[in-house]
Symmetry: C3
Subunit: 133 residues, 3 copies
Amino acid sequence: MKKTFQVKTSKHSQMIDITNELETWIREENVDEGILVVSSMHTTAGITVNENADPDVKTDFLMRLDEVFPWEHPKDKHAEGNTASHLKTSTVGHAQTLIISNGKLELGIWQGVYFCEFDGPRSRKYIGKIVRG
Amino acid sequence: MKKTFQVKTSKHSQMIDITNELETWIREENVDEGILVVSSMHTTAGITVNENADPDVKTDFLMRLDEVFPWEHPKDKHAEGNTASHLKTSTVGHAQTLIISNGKLELGIWQGVYFCEFDGPRSRKYIGKIVRG
Amino acid sequence: MKKTFQVKTSKHSQMIDITNELETWIREENVDEGILVVSSMHTTAGITVNENADPDVKTDFLMRLDEVFPWEHPKDKHAEGNTASHLKTSTVGHAQTLIISNGKLELGIWQGVYFCEFDGPRSRKYIGKIVRG
């Protein structure tokens, strides 16, 4: 089964916790065991799993990524000017594969699933796909 | 089902669009719904999903990665001298998991699947694995 | 089927080859074909696939990652002080999806699966999930 999710980002760089959306869907589908592939439909926004507790981790995370892949770069050729966001997306990954167990995502206590906006604000889409098993 | 793909790279660093090869295979196998794991068989070449339109994105992408992981590094110990390509491979990922829907890869309009050569030119191999569901 | 694995790391940064543990489990479960998702249960430790031969690759790998994401950073806000390890985890990935073929992991000759400690030493956990197909 497959589902399309919409998300509206409000900042240029932003990590949005989508764990609840995914777990709600797993419950609706009555899936006990399997895997869930969650995939951004964009090349300037990705998906990652990281800390769900201290919000400063997200702030630091985006600041550090921006330092490694600065927005302005004298050698960039891509006319749209958002090369950095393409790099960040492939670094965290456009998608993640998650384990479903006992009707929930198999995550550590501090792990959350994040939609990562790297060139917002925009209206974005991501797809969830569940394979039972 | 599983398939081995061959690719001959022609440059030291190169992103080769393999979306068509994968979708042709999906059609040959008559798979409507499922997931496809595509995995590089190498530690100096990976797989990523990124922009399929402006070729300058690829140029910028490889230039930026090279800046973050420079080929020459005074502290590298690996005698083969290609430490940077190992880092780049784990950064983009040696493999990606893709969603199959209605007999096609579920990708955004600008997304393509790329084999990423980081220590070429070489003869390379990647494996596709489809799980229906 | 699912299995929880324990690993005790002994250094602050460390790559531990877990290929054998995973393949032993695949044999115990008599799985011939399918995929295996292996997922760290932590936000400061990940999973990657990289070189299993020269141990200097691991040394260089961790040194290079440390250079890109230095432990000390004047702008970090996260009070725990381990922001760098969160970045490294999302860069290599908290999890990897591997192909199972003929009862073994479908890996290239130089590829091994690594649990990556980025904030040890600690007692860590990772989960394996097999989907046949």
